[in-house]
Amino acid sequence: MFETALTGNDLLFLAKGAGMTLAVTGVSVAAGTLMGIIFGVLRTQFGPWWSMPLTFVLDIFRSVPLLIQLVLANAFQAIAQWGWPPFTTSCVVLSLYTAAYCTEIVRGGIDSVPVTTRRAARSLGLTWGQDMRYIVGPLATRVSLPAWIGLTLGVMKDSALVLWLGLTELLKSSQILITRLQEPLFILLICGAFYFVLSFPIARLGGYLERRWSPND
């Protein structure tokens, strides 16, 4: 029969790692989405020409591998003597990484709202802000949701890279256990199951919202 040295305490250890993964992902996705919305709105308002500097910076965060960003940012904050703990550095880098992608998602969502619909809203006397809040916001959210869910799930898995800064998140916890117990396949299986448990509700939430909104279109 199957035997393992894995104890309940080890599972708890993994769960703590999963908690760290969740914390890093939660903070980064929340901050990144907020920035992405602001940058996305700025991009559509200013047009491609005036937002070129912003686009350029965001393109850097989209094209340089996340691992390199993390290592460079950590080195930089050390040189600048900011004294950021690894958690802060990780969240800052992942937030900007998320924001870079989210900006494009938001811009696409806003662009998907027909100009004529927005004109109709404005001609009823709605201000720019009211148009954004009551018309563009809800419509753009519907269009952007699947891509945003995909981004969130991606960031959660990419967040494993913060182990290079010394954060003991889910993957690092698994590695520690593997080193100690020498049962790599079994532990990775459990680690994968943890990731799945974290991701599944988010994916289902996306599906639920899409279903709820779809009869209205």
Binding site: T117, R122, S123, L124, G125, L126, W213, N216, D217
Partner: protein
Amino acid sequence: MIEIEKVRKSFGALEVLKGIDLIVANGEVVTIIGGSGSGKSTLLTCINGLEAVDSGRVLIDGTEVHARSTNLNKLRQNVGIVFQQFNAFPHLTVLENVMLAPRKVKGMAKPEAEAMAVKQLTHVGLADKLRVYPSRLSGGQQQRMAIARALAMSPAYMLFDEVTSALDPQLVGEVLDTLKMLAEEGMTMICVTHEMSFARDVSDRVAFFHQGIMAEIGRPDQLFGAPQNPETQKFLSNVR
């Protein structure tokens, strides 16, 4: 009263309006006919300030639309516009579509706004569609909803920009009937249209636009019966 004085408007090198003068008195129905690209629709969007003018001015009850000091959001409450595309807000029910502007722009309480919306939707014959989403409506019903949405702001003036052009032929009648009803109730209206029989039956005056100029304006019997301008004659002989 809507006063349009020497309005000029260009898009790049193309001058769409080459000095338009028109005064629309309260209670008057003016229809604008003319070929595509003659500047008809652009004039309407200039009247409610959706488009800026290059020179000249538009006055609505004495307020200059394009003056810096004019609060356009306030002014637009008094000037309803309905477009060729129905422009329904797809995420809101028919009732919510109509209630949105009275609630958010005029700050009406919910019951008050709902009563207003129900009244206007009943007026255009959509009393049985209050809780459905626009996607469940036909084109003609969506367009009537758009009319009710504009009317719910109790505007003194209504602008109609080719409101039947995107409709299937069998749905044109119901929308035109709604416009006729409004005209009979004394609404001040400017209608850009391709429906000649509508222009003839409903208007107090008909204006013919040609290449950015108002080539001719007159009572429908004059303009359709004995057009003076050769371009008007050519246009009317083509559409008949």
